[in-house]
């Protein structure tokens, strides 16, 4: 009986002192912050610690940084678990689709563009300009610049270049 009481007392003392040995939440939090500060990949991340559970918040550069921050926090002494609430910025929107003029506008445009080139015939269908006939090499760029500025979907150049 006496022995078991002593053992219990010893156990309790050990338990209390063991708890006392654990780093305090505030200390853990500071240690995580220091590690984050030392690693540029963790820029933007902050940790709050409660009962050894570290919660990460803030926005970091990408998913890799998000994982790095989690691993970094886990490695800090006293951290029992990590709740990773870090966010990453959404990917940039894809470039806007090109604007294509209506066939009516394109038809008017090709009439103007080919006026000075009587040997060139141009047709418009579904946003595509098709040029046939012939043109002198020196006039080709001039014509193509005009046609390209009309906002077509495509130019089918079937011209014979002389």
């Amino acid at each position: 009986m006496k022995v078991s009481k002593i053992l219990l007392a010893v156990f309790l003392t050990a338990a209390v002192s063991f708890i006392g040995c654990k780093p305090k939440d505030s200390t853990i939090q500071k240690n995580i912050a220091d590690k984050f500060a030392a690693n540029p990949e963790c820029a933007g991340a902050t940790a709050t610690v409660s009962d050894g559970v570290a919660t990460l918040t803030g926005e970091v550069k990408d998913d890799m940084c998000k994982n790095t921050a989690e691993t970094t926090a886990k490695d800090v002494k006293g951290v029992k678990s990590v709740v990773n609430n870090l966010t990453v910025p959404p990917p940039p929107p894809p470039p806007a689709a090109p604007t294509v003029s209506s066939d009516t506008a394109l038809s008017q445009g090709v009439t103007d563009a080919t006026k000075d080139f009587p040997t060139v015939k141009a047709t418009v269908n579904n946003g595509e300009i098709t040029v046939t006939g012939s043109i002198k090499r020196k006039d080709l760029t001039t014509l193509m610049q005009s046609l390209n500025s009309l906002h077509p979907a495509k130019i089918n150049n079937q011209l014979t270049i002389k």
């Binding site: 009439t111 006039d139 610049q145 390209n148 500025s149 495509k154």
Partner: protein, 139 residues
């Protein structure tokens, strides 16, 4: 990077280097569209020169190079027709009546850019009307 962007990489790089504003590079239906506003006519010409090197006959049919030249009212432009005079018209379109002519090599003043094809210009003799932009080089 897509195969098309790879093919025209030199052009895209040059467009970035030339300071093309509102530069847009997008793909639709296997056609690469590059559009934007060049700060000078020379910058536009340079891009067309590169395009001409990649595809000398402009025959591949997979690029639309739509480079406009930024210019404000009052800018001088030179008539760069082959040799003939440039028609000045009442409205923006070849179906519009001719109100005057500007001689080959003549310097005119830009009033405003109605669109990429037709600019409202004024000659030194006071004739005002629309001329086809392809034959005008901003000075």
């Amino acid at each position: 990077m897509s195969a098309l962007q790879d093919k025209y990489k030199q052009l895209i790089d040059a467009a970035n280097a030339a300071g093309i504003s509102n530069l847009q590079v997008s793909e639709q239906g296997n056609v690469l569209h590059i559009s934007g506003d060049a700060p000078t006519g020379a910058a536009k010409d340079q891009l067309w020169e590169i395009y001409g090197k990649i595809d000398p006959d402009y025959r591949a049919g997979n690029l639309i190079l739509d480079i406009d030249v930024a210019a404000s009212a009052g800018t001088k432009a030179k008539v760069t027709t082959d040799s003939t005079a440039l028609n000045i018209r009442k409205g923006p379109g070849t179906d519009q009546p001719i109100v005057g002519k500007a001689a080959h090599g003549e310097i005119v003043t830009l009033q405003n850019k109605t669109n990429e094809q037709w600019w409202l210009i004024k000659t030194d003799t006071g004739v005002e009307g629309y001329a086809y932009a392809q034959y005008l080089s901003l000075q």
